[in-house]
Symmetry: C2
Subunit: 328 residues, 2 copies
Amino acid sequence: MKIRIGILGYGNLGKGIECALKQNADMELVGVFTRRNPDKVTILSEGVKVYTVDELMDKKDDIDVLILCGGSATDLPKQTPEYAKYFNVVDSFDTHAKIPEHFAAVNKAALENNKVAMISCGWDPGMFSLNRLYGGAVLPQGSAYTFWGKGVSQGHSDAIRRIEGVANAIQYTIPLDKALEAVRSGSNPNFTAREKHLRECFVVAEDGADLARIEQEIKTMPNYFADYDTIVHFISEETLKKEHAGMAHGGFVIQSSKTGWNGENTAIIEYSLKLDSNPEFTSLVLVAYARAVYRMKQEGMSGCKTVFDVAPAYLSPMSGEELRAQLL
Amino acid sequence: MKIRIGILGYGNLGKGIECALKQNADMELVGVFTRRNPDKVTILSEGVKVYTVDELMDKKDDIDVLILCGGSATDLPKQTPEYAKYFNVVDSFDTHAKIPEHFAAVNKAALENNKVAMISCGWDPGMFSLNRLYGGAVLPQGSAYTFWGKGVSQGHSDAIRRIEGVANAIQYTIPLDKALEAVRSGSNPNFTAREKHLRECFVVAEDGADLARIEQEIKTMPNYFADYDTIVHFISEETLKKEHAGMAHGGFVIQSSKTGWNGENTAIIEYSLKLDSNPEFTSLVLVAYARAVYRMKQEGMSGCKTVFDVAPAYLSPMSGEELRAQLL
């Protein structure tokens, strides 16, 4: 009997979940649920139906784990606590500052209704968080470094698009090699934001817009760009669509520490991701944790969980014996 | 109240545990237990006593977790099941092929006596195993690669020392850059042993020994060297002591996979360690898991555990709230 998965929301992440399920033989897709007109939504999986979100409750008993593929800004803060009343759920809530309140709301709903709800799953938060925890636990006197990129930051791209005269924009976050090398050398450097990442922007301006003003507004924008070295290129919409539609991303989590009685030795732990498709990888993480959610529920657990709360063995379809014999 | 730790066995690993405890403020060392004459053993920690192994049982109620620092060949197969009857324990048993039987023996003792016993802890088995599991769970259709080194292999060094005419020897396992680059390119290569690692040997010959024969015996030794490209250098005992006494090690665990509906994209996860001191890092891992053992015991768990069974949050001294707010 396979683990029965439902997908709520069919954007890049929903599509990624379909691809991820294709790679996991112990799972099957029950249906895709959308706020759009289902007749207008074409999915990849043959023989699987698209339903309206209103039909979700009718399928309550057919779904073991519901994967919520909405956005963190407005969808998930409402959806996850609501659906955790009726389903075991997994989400990818990634607004780091609001995780504590999201956890509290989801935990209450899941505990009261005896469901398991996994939040903030993916790679950051997610696999990167795990590596920050493992790194800090093993090298407690060390320094932790997270680098992102090269990849598109949706938040920074949106910020540029809000500037007057900007028709479209894509912003790449780029980790600086010099900073990475300094960390890998074991020198435990302290960085300013500018020393860790570069920001490169590809901007489509509206006809007749003042390019110098736009560039100035980008480079001086507080929080987003002012503390970084920023490069601005003006390009056509056509070039943007052709050359900047990719969804590659990645990054590094590095823990560097001294070891030995007098700190005479150096130890460096480095974890990195190189991803052609950010949403496809995120989806694979969500699906692995959907397996964990299913198993934890089978064992009688309930409440809100994060990657920190899940024993690694729950993620693998292999048994404890197989894991010990083959992977330990 | 601190977590009270005992150390059994005072070689490189026992010394490493002392160093690791110095970096973890929530733990304290109760005593070092040795099979040698305690008067002849000088430890690093001030105000901590060295006891004979026979005194260990008298200290049963003073030790929360006993860290077993013996060898995997003969010490741990006896010690861990025996001491798991009376103590919560952590060991670094690393004979991969014998882990299932070690687990069974330790699990029986720990369950019958309501103790938590953590086996095969360190970096391989240990942190590398974790990364093989996480990598395989997240990218299930991918290929997994483990590279070791550059670092000394005790087993291979010992094998050379058993050859007639050899007075001393050190063998370095060296991962081949070309292989690492092929894996990082996402080409999912299949390697022979020879294509992944190089073996470099520094050998001290006895006076008048036949160097050509020794070199030939090394290079053709089944299992250990025959399947590898092997370089042999003959050096003096003095040079060996001066230039090859270091305990640096490290390695890489890489998972490479295709993602997307038709496998059109590539995802690479890479975890690596660069360690000036292998035993000091191993000890830091053992101590983090000693904290986990203590907490699991507090929560009423018992039995044999491996890194696969431990939810990451148990490793950190931070609370769940702190972890979610600061590391997720």
